[in-house]
């Protein structure tokens, strides 16, 4: 079984974001970019499936700008076998919408015929939480979102999902799309020898047009602003003073 893992290049989760003065979005020039943390978990899970003999090949895919090559090299260094980069924009500030990404992924799936797609549950930049579900819909496959446990057994998979009420376990037909949550695993760091080896692994370059997908957005960005700031608070010296302040504020 082949496993496809879509990975996104996003601003590093430790970087404090700055909104651009012209309101067009967040400034991404000269800031540290990394693989979306949820996608790292997806790559890790795919590699573990291969190590457990349940997958034969792990293919990392990124849709975006040319610089996403680095993100794919990270996936290759972690242990993915090969990578496909689909260039859908030449501007680092253009976010490719989940619907477009899902359509391009469908094109890749039609060619590669994987048994499983493992996605991160959301990208920490647009926070849309949509690509996996959209891909599953376009394929007419089952879906298992927000996975914290995954067990593949022949033509079905048992998945435990983190939901508002607690945990839900479902069984899905293969092939399937699974989106992964934080507690599925802890991703490995790539070792230096593996980083060197990754440079020689195959990385194919494609464009959105190769899959017949029109990458123009459905959502026009009207404006991007900083969130309203909170008024500065105070430090209290003791539990008694805290209770007094809370009473004054009518909070207790």
């Amino acid at each position: 079984m082949k496993v496809i893992v879509p990975v996104k290049r996003v601003i590093d989760y430790n970087v404090k974001v700055r909104v651009k003065a012209d309101g067009s979005g967040v400034d991404l020039a000269n800031v540290k970019m990394s693989m979306n943390p949820f996608d790292e978990i997806a790559v890790e899970q795919a590699i573990r499936l291969k190590e457990a003999g349940k997958a034969d090949e792990v293919i990392a895919v990124s849709v975006g700008v040319k610089q996403a090559q680095e993100t794919l090299r990270t996936a290759l260094a972690m242990g993915a076998d090969r990578a496909i980069l689909v260039i859908a924009s030449d501007d680092v500030h253009t976010d490719i919408e989940p619907l477009t990404v899902a359509k391009i992924l469908k094109g890749i799936i039609d060619e590669e015929q994987p048994g499983l797609v493992l996605c991160g549950k959301q990208a920490i930049d647009n926070d849309m939480n949509a690509t996996g579900q959209m891909l599953s819909a376009l394929m007419g496959w089952s879906q298992a979102t927000f996975a914290s446990e995954l067990d593949i057994d022949g033509d079905s998979a048992t998945v435990t999902r983190e939901v508002d009420g607690g945990l839900q376990t479902i069984k899905v037909n293969m092939p399937t799309v699974v989106t992964v949550d934080l507690r599925l695993n802890e991703p490995r760091y790539a070792s230096l020898p593996n980083i060197m080896k990754a440079k020689k692994k195959p990385l194919d370059e494609k464009t959105a047009a190769d899959y017949g997908v029109d990458a123009s957005p459905r959502l026009e960005i009207v404006n991007t602003v900083e969130p309203a700031a909170r008024a500065a608070g105070i430090k209290v010296g003791s539990v008694d003073e805290l209770i007094e302040k809370l009473k004054e504020a009518g909070a207790v």
Binding site: E97, I124, A137, W141, S142, V163, G233, I234, V239
Partner: protein, 308 residues
Amino acid sequence: MAVLLLAEVTDGELALDATAKAVTAAGALGDVTVLATGATCADAAAEAAKIDGVAKVLCAEDPIYGKRLAEPVADLIVSLAGDYEHIVAPATTDAKNIMPRVAALLDVMVMSDVTAVVDGSTFERPIYAGNAMQTVKSSDAKKVITFRGATFDAAGMGGSASVENIGAAADPALSSWVEDKVATSDRPELTSAGVVVSGGRGVGSEDDFKIIEALADKLNAAVGASRAAVDSGYAPNDWQVGQTGKVVAPDLYVAVGISGAIQHLAGMKDSKIIVAINKDEEAPIFQVADFGLVADLFDAVPDLTSKL
């Protein structure tokens, strides 16, 4: 212009607060038809019919909707979509599972976690864990939206809409339910509680989380947790507050032993009053706290609990 709103129904029971907040958000868009689904959903439908601003309730009762698996519910919504320009839901994990699937089947983009309605095609939503607010205008013929509950007030209960039973759509038979692990609690529900007390890694163990729970019970509060506390096994996953957990905006939020990473702030910084108890005076949580107490939580929290 008509709106179809997927009610939050769990095992036949309406999640009233979540649904009523989404009704408020959707009211600006047109006449709201609520869709209730479940193995049984007559009671949920009857309750939804009382929400102010609901014009009509559709009740789709069938075993295939019992656990609200994404594939059958999405197919049902798509079968009804023709009559509606907006298809919306509260931004729960259920809806976030279902609505992007609906959008892709309709070949439109989804808009998740919408916090404000500007007009029928223009919406505001947080990006980058709430570090930026973005207004987007959809060019799609149908708009598929989840509304973030924390920013809308729940609609009242003076309505009397009609309820219409509808048949099920075909069963795609792609997945099946195995089990739920749901902890029942007498405490208020996290996303609708007026007071939330959350513990972080500083609490140190599952056992010591009882200190947090005792304070919560004194304040009639829900209990929350940081990701680090959940990852460490001190608290269950459904208590996680933040970018990838629940988003809350109570009147009072008490953060105990939580450093205040942006991913945590994303889930609570719209609370009316924030209290932080942390022994590190440099902890970033103090930057958003109205009242900060630099103290060891093992002294301060039991003291606070006993004096309240």
